[in-house]
């Protein structure tokens, strides 16, 4: 008899580049200069992300964004941003090594996360392209749903990553956790 399909799959995402960007969106020079480097506008709607080419930008706050890139691109993108924003009141920091992303996918993925989060994870509310900083099992995380599929990305500080993975494994156990956690 074939094994039933797992309800949840946990995976550690490959290392990626992350750039913490802060600046004043009311200063027209700032979003224009950033868009010149990225090739698209920063998302201004709270708790949404925008993706094009090799970069994804997540809204973190009214003046804060996280730019995700390929690991090898992080330094180059940060350098280009810093050069494009020389005299503006803003900050660009490459922070990719500081956190680890997990992918929680499958039809029961939201049920696993809901055990440790207070966010409304109703697929109709937390839709494709939504992101939010919140708490998962009491640790600060950034949750992102990149597409319509039931794939959620959980980004946690590297120092919490072992705890986060242990917690996710335990929470996913009852749904048939197909863990490719290597």
């Amino acid at each position: 008899m074939a094994e039933p399909a797992p309800g949840v799959e946990l995976r550690i995402c490959p290392p990626r580049g992350r750039i913490d960007l802060r600046g004043d969106p009311a200063d027209p020079a700032f979003p224009t200069a950033v868009a010149g480097v990225l090739g698209f506008e920063l998302p201004s709607t709270p708790n949404t992300s925008r993706s094009a080419g090799a970069a994804t930008v997540l809204w973190l706050g009214p003046d804060a964004w996280l730019i995700e890139t390929e690991r090898a691109m992080e330094a180059a993108v940060a350098e280009r941003l810093a050069q494009a924003l020389p005299d503006l009141h803003c900050s660009v920091a490459a922070v990719g090594d500081g956190s680890v992303a997990f992918s929680v996918s499958g039809p029961r993925a939201a049920d696993v996360l809901a055990k440790g989060m207070t966010l409304d994870l109703d697929p109709a509310r937390f839709r494709a392209g939504h992101c939010a900083r919140s708490l998962l099992a009491r640790i600060p995380v950034l949750l992102h749903r990149p597409g319509d599929d039931f794939i959620y990305e959980v980004t946690a500080a590297r120092s919490y990553s072992e705890y986060a993975l242990d917690w996710l494994h335990d929470a996913a156990l009852e749904y048939g956790d197909a863990a490719g956690s290597s």
Binding site: P62, T118, R133, L135, P140
Partner: protein, 94 residues
């Protein structure tokens, strides 16, 4: 548990927030002109009303923003939420 409507992120659980105490406390314009009693009053003395209370809250595990909440201290009902620098909906923010 409170469900607090962050002006940017919408309704979120209280565990994501930090309470910063009474809102709209003004630093005295000329601290040197105050005697100890008035300075202590500015530093330490806070209203403790039964009913409507204006407080500062920070969405520390969300967007990281400080904002104001008008909360009923008896029912825990949230009357209004407004951003820093905005006048309180009920008026008289001084």
């Amino acid at each position: 548990m409170l469900l607090i409507p962050c002006p940017w992120c919408g309704a979120r659980d209280e565990s994501e927030f930090t309470c910063g105490g009474e809102a709209h406390i003004r630093r005295p314009a000329d601290p040197d002109a105050l005697d100890d009693a008035h300075w202590a009053d500015y530093l330490f003395m806070r209203a403790n009303p039964k009913g409507s209370h204006r407080e500062r809250w920070c969405h520390s595990h969300g967007c990281g923003r400080w904002f104001n909440v008008e909360r009923d201290t008896v029912t825990h009902g949230i009357v209004s939420v407004y951003r820093m620098g905005e006048p309180p909906p009920g008026g008289d923010g001084s």
